[in-house]
Symmetry: C2
Subunit: 470 residues, 2 copies
Amino acid sequence: MINTATAPPPPSLDDDIDHDALDEDYVLTAAFVEKVVDAADDGDGLKLRSLLEDLHPADVADLMGFLTSEHRAVVVLWLPPELLAETLPELDDGIREEVLERVPHLILAKALQELDSDDAAAVVEDLEDDQRERVLSAMPDVDRAAIEDSLGYAEDSAGRLMQREVMAAPKFWTVGDTIDHIRGQGEDLPELFFDIYVVDPLNKPVGGVPISRLLRSPRAMPLAEIMEPINAIAVDQDQEEVAYIFEKYHLISAPVIDAAGRLVGQITVDDIVNIIQEENREDILRLAGVSDESRGAGVFGVVRSRIPWLIVNLGTAIFASLVIGQFTTELEALVYLAILMPVVASIGGNSGTQALTVAVRSLASRELNSANAVRILGREVLVGLFNGVTIGTLLAGVAWIWFREPLLSLTIGLAVLINLVAASLAGTLVPLALDRLDRDPAVASPVFVTWITDTVGFLSFLGLAGVILL
Amino acid sequence: MINTATAPPPPSLDDDIDHDALDEDYVLTAAFVEKVVDAADDGDGLKLRSLLEDLHPADVADLMGFLTSEHRAVVVLWLPPELLAETLPELDDGIREEVLERVPHLILAKALQELDSDDAAAVVEDLEDDQRERVLSAMPDVDRAAIEDSLGYAEDSAGRLMQREVMAAPKFWTVGDTIDHIRGQGEDLPELFFDIYVVDPLNKPVGGVPISRLLRSPRAMPLAEIMEPINAIAVDQDQEEVAYIFEKYHLISAPVIDAAGRLVGQITVDDIVNIIQEENREDILRLAGVSDESRGAGVFGVVRSRIPWLIVNLGTAIFASLVIGQFTTELEALVYLAILMPVVASIGGNSGTQALTVAVRSLASRELNSANAVRILGREVLVGLFNGVTIGTLLAGVAWIWFREPLLSLTIGLAVLINLVAASLAGTLVPLALDRLDRDPAVASPVFVTWITDTVGFLSFLGLAGVILL
């Protein structure tokens, strides 16, 4: 294991201490959580501290998620201060806010100095205005300036993500110069780094040298001869963009530059892993109609994250009912229309969800873009036609077995075919259009697509029934 | 940028050559793709080579995705052999299989020797049996053995993921010994590495030293004094598990050990980034009822990935129709029941999808487990109750405005309440049960949950209507 935070190392597999804390899946055991709860209930601080002090900060954060707010309050009191500092960046937002309210500002100010500038800024960001001021004014000028600088960049930008600590070397240095420099002044360097950025006299990065390459090269070798071109990240670039570049080019770290092209910090891949997970989580939840549900939220937090989409869905469902309401004559004459019509809408909705999920994913990974949109759309329509014919035929068969009415089978088969082609079109075009309008396609697409497939489903089935069956 | 493959560096931002190949989002421009297509159509090999030779392998792989099979065949012919080798691991599975069939086995054998053992194995894995034999027998014994070893491990295991090249140092070495060793024999070391694993005389890893720490320490310092505990990965561990450990503990690399605890390789974070994306992609598609759709698949590939779930959905929808069919008396007497009933099912389906998506995500990130399942389920039921009362009241109001029938409003309000609680229960219990049975909850959950919400929706609304309204 190598940890890029200033955190203590995670427990080794051979280390007995945590064998009862973590199960084989690296999840805290129920037995361990119970021990913590018991100790907290008994107010046994020494027991608590001995249970907690050997945990990795990530495991402490997990533990917090398993506890109630009351137990968290006791645990925070007994966490060793350094471990508390390292746990803060690992906590889920909701829990972090709660914990921060409980930590005295002097202890917090001291804790934050232990962290890299990006982690410290991420914590300070969550403080209430007055608490933030008190904490910042209790910190040394240098650390405060670093945090304030970081918070000056837009949320979700490369500037917010980067750490200011970076190892830069002038172009004219040799491998030996660089190694001597690193050995000489460890203090100002990042806790861990993976690449040395070679800079020109204006402090613009002109190349990068992975430190394993530095180690392998003769001391007399000029850096300029072993450096590789770099992918510099602009300080105002969006974090999703940054994650894409890291993923695509397999980067471990990348220099961040300001508008003038000067080196101002670096981003390392461990931060990117978190962002990728966070963006994926957001996408998957948005597709399901859940707006940023914070982990560890209470009942009303969860309700708030879900009810907006249910209300929108109520609107589109009522719209679909209005469509059905246009066909009372048909429904009163033929009750089997009422029995079968949800099938057409349901198949259409599922088919639309499939097309739309694939489109949203492809847009996110940039496999779908203006260069191939038309071809992909064509493929989707063919898929819709083929699936429509297959499923339509199957359903027509079932309807015939059930009601022995050939014209009904024809009607429902055609309706399914129409709705599945509509689902393919809507599932692809809606996300494309939202993306073109610079909206997140994962947010609104499901509403539009279900609306379209419900409407087309009922309209085509009941409309065709009016023509064919009455 | 630092690239952990043996690939040439990606183009620098300051480098003019590719300004017309990539747009500001790092996506190939339509104009560039067109140039390639034109050159391929004209059979202009020199033009093709000059267009392609400065691309990063990841961009060549993207380009392949934009081309038709015919154009790909021409492009493969004119790719410089080294670039071809480095592009192979970047290609999507379907396209890689196609490309591999077109590359003569001697060229392929030579190309694979350029790659790290894990990348080479990933390519060989995709070869047809006879081609694989021809390629392997054209390779030097050492490289062949490495690839065969790698393929001996289960798919998706740590053994398949790891590279055998690793920097290990005996416990008694000093920093100086280690640096001299690295400088002395670069050949056998990985192209890039981030940590040195300290091993005991039995070759069991006992600690790790990040190379930036090595560089910072005095030459006389024994490794044993600066090493950190490590998280060793078992060679048969599942890749999803490995990704979880990397993410949780912010690892950059980790040693892989065999059953006897001996060091056999290492896994680096850049491979983990791909796995995280791949697992997320699978999860999101499975939740939408799309089984592993390979990128760049043709119409029938796409149909194959989607129609199974549509057929299952047809089954559950017909089941719902059978439920509706039990209430022909009610439907014939009161046509507004037919008009409103899809609303109850639709809201229930969406609510179930929300609960189930949150549960699947929480299971994947291990926030939901046996230690807190009961508490989470209790929270979900409360959410279902609250959402049910809210949405039920809204819908009752709409029904009253529309049909002026207080008992109808009561009926539909109650039905929504019942269905939303059922949705919360099903959305949480179904994934939990599948997970307990060691099934992937993302695969089958949507079927079960929609089945339950459709059935409960129609049954409660029409059933209550029979009691209250008739």
